[in-house]
């Protein structure tokens, strides 16, 4: 009888976690601590500890001070974060456990800012609704060491591309290859998490490591995507090195010395697309170059950037060292960042729309989505500065406990040989094609989309259709991509998965015929108003029966939520459930 071992090296565990950044490691630790009898395996395409965005983050992590009220934070974020697109019940639950996630990291040995009595020191953010603690740049080293100590297994340099399913469609494993010898690796598990981060369309966004493998593999086994149209945003960056000028958004000046931040988005609490549309106007009308005047820090630049807290222990030595290296390297290009650096806008699309519930479980049995991969999709929508790492820890605690319970109760199912063989053939196909096309062609075309403000930040039917047409053309290139080694083979799949994510974003953007959102704003010049009558709805995206993309809307249950737009009326068929 045909044996899986004939197809590749087979690993068996109770829980498989794909991606070993902060979310994957926290999930693994929590699962193992919930039930130490479970065999928990984390697989990463890089080296765990260094891999992922988590290994480069260290400006701070969201927390809460005792006097700060979670309900007030949640209410603020419904209006100023999700613009009513939140799952408000989840959001309140989520922000209520901000501080617990810091304590969990502390328990795992991650270095955090401390008070003299040893408790975690949280610094209030300017609006005093939430706080931010200091965290070491090396949080994943500490988590890796702790994971090993509690008996989690770690496997480096294996990239996974497809999920295995049983006859009922539940996820029971994954398949990919090792990044050195390109040998096929097959994983069997009772519960699987994709903690692979979102999709960032290469480095234009400065957000590395995410090429959409997790989202795309989940989509192919029937997972839902949500809020994908709110994936576009913009950051103020140093023109010298494309790195964020954290919190500098109120201090941008034009060449005449006018503070243009105060013209387009006065006294903002976050960087917004509206500011950047204004900056574009300034430059187009000849009032560039633009610079950020950091000689006198305002509250935002001091708090968000963390530099206002350097002497209080919020910025750890490893992060400051890294910032120092970046500054020195930027100077090598001949540009001094200094205190009045030249600035520009960096558009980015972050595909983080895999739909997940409060336990970060997807709609597919056996599949969880902890970490940034499900930020938009989970719809708690509580992003504030520091919620990248905070989210990783929160998701990990929730997903880990949920997966442990599931895996404890479930019996293992053997993967189907024919399914595994077909997926293996698909993964290795680019090695055997008589063509010469390379994935760079696809990445370069996608990067061009992200460079244009009127593709990413300001949309219209015309611009969206132009991008969807381009995507259709690029989809024809995918079956012709060729590879010669593990690196280029992986890139062929990264290109295909990123392209799928791009299509999801723009198909959802085409469907939403209104303007809505805050930091992740969906702006339609042809539908410039917020439309609360028709669009208090989530757009879901899934792979249809015949493989084509299907979109459908779902009423947001505002009748269950406390914060509602002015004039909101409960639709027919529903009754008031919150204010009873």
């Amino acid at each position: 009888m045909a044996n899986l071992k004939d197809l590749g090296k087979v690993y068996t565990s109770d829980i498989l976690i794909i991606g070993g950044g902060i979310a994957g490691l926290c999930t693994a630790i929590k699962a193992k601590e919930t039930n130490p009898a479970l065999d928990v395996l984390v697989v990463d395409k890089g080296s765990i500890g260094y891999a992922g965005q988590s290994g480069k983050a260290g400006n701070g992590i969201t927390g809460r001070l005792p006097h700060q009220n979670p309900q007030a934070m949640a209410d603020y974020l419904v209006v100023n974060g999700g613009d009513y697109m939140n799952d408000q019940e989840f959001l309140l639950d989520y922000v209520s456990t901000n501080q617990e996630s810091l304590e969990f990291l502390d328990h795992c040995g991650v270095k955090l800012s401390k008070n003299e009595d040893g408790s975690i020191r949280v610094f209030p953010m300017p609006n005093d609704l939430w706080g931010c603690a200091g965290i070491e740049l090396g949080s994943c080293f500490s988590l890796r060491d702790y994971a090993l100590k509690v008996g989690v297994r770690l496997l480096d340099r294996v990239q996974l591309f497809e999920l295995l399913t049983d006859k009922a469609g539940a996820v029971i494993g994954a398949i990919g290859f090792d990044c050195d010898k390109m040998k096929c690796q097959i994983f069997k598990a009772k519960a699987v998490a994709v903690a692979t981060d979102g999709c960032y369309f290469k480095k234009v966004g400065g957000m590395f490591c995410g090429y959409g493998n997790g989202i795309a593999s989940a989509y192919r086994v029937g997972a839902l995507m949500r809020n994908a149209e709110f994936s576009c945003s913009v950051e103020l960056v140093h023109k010298a090195n494309n790195e964020a000028v954290y919190g500098g958004f109120n201090l941008v000046h034009n060449k005449d010395g006018v503070n243009v931040s105060q013209v387009y988005a006065p006294n903002a609490e976050e960087t917004t697309p509206d500011l950047h549309i204004g900056l574009w106007k300034e430059v187009q009308e000849g009032r560039g170059p633009l610079y950020c005047d950091l000689r006198v820090l305002d509250d935002m630049s001091a708090h968000i950037g963390g530099m206002g807290h350097v002497n209080d222990g919020r910025m750890m030595a490893d992060k400051l060292r890294w910032i120092g290296i970046e500054m020195a390297k930027a100077a090598q290009t001949g540009i001094q960042l200094g205190q009045t650096p030249e600035v520009t806008s960096r558009m980015y699309i972050q595909g983080e729309f895999l739909r997940a519930d409060r336990e970060f479980k997807t709609n597919v049995e056996g599949l969880w989505a902890p970490g940034k991969i499900s930020y938009q999709g989970s719809a708690y929508w509580g992003w504030v500065r520091g919620d990248g790492l905070g989210n990783g820890a929160q998701c990990g605690m929730r997903a880990g406990a949920s997966m442990a319970k599931f895996a404890t109760e479930k019996a293992a199912v053997e993967p189907d040989y024919e399914q595994v063989k077909a997926l293996k053939d698909k993964i290795y196909a680019p090695l055997n094609r008589p063509t010469t096309r390379k994935p760079k062609e696809v990445f370069d075309a996608m990067e061009q989309v992200v460079f244009h403000l009127d593709n990413v930040i300001v949309k219209s039917e015309k611009s969206i259709q132009a991008i969807l047409d381009m995507i259709e053309e690029l989809k024809k290139v995918i079956p012709e991509l060729t590879a010669e080694d593990a690196h280029t083979l992986a890139k062929c799949h990264d290109a295909a998965d990123s392209l799928l994510c791009l299509e999801i974003v723009f198909r959802a953007a085409q469907m939403r015929k209104e303007t809505r959102g805050c930091v992740y704003r969906h702006i339609r010049t042809d539908y410039p108003e917020r439309d609360n009558k028709n669009w208090l709805k989530w757009i879901n995206v899934k792979q249809g029966e015949n493989g084509s993309m299907e979109l459908f809307t779902e009423d947001i249950p505002m009748w269950r939520y406390p914060v509602r737009p002015e004039g909101y009326e409960i639709p027919e068929g529903h009754a008031e459930e919150y204010y009873v």
Partner: protein, 84 residues
């Protein structure tokens, strides 16, 4: 050895490379590979570099210098509107 792409220039002192392959394992974007013929590590995929400087920081033999080139090749604020 000098390897360049549009974003980055790598200056690698291959004589000093001890073969520890730390750079290969630390790079988050799989830029570094072992070259069995040259018997040293090489930045085989320089286009993928995201300028995190981890390889340079962690090479104990100081073999690696990562020199960023002009990072922003096209300033988005200079782009003309496309859909009038």
């Amino acid at each position: 050895m000098i390897v360049t792409s549009s974003d980055v220039k790598f200056v690698v002192d291959t004589d000093r490379c001890c073969g520890c392959k730390v750079c290969v394992r630390r790079c988050i974007e799989d830029v570094w590979h072992w070259d069995p013929e040259k018997n040293c590590a090489v930045p085989k995929y320089p286009d993928e570099c995201v300028l995190c400087y981890q390889c340079e920081m962690d090479c104990k033999n100081n073999c690696i210098e990562v020199i960023p080139q002009v990072v922003i090749k096209s300033d988005p604020l200079l782009n003309k509107p496309q859909y009038e």
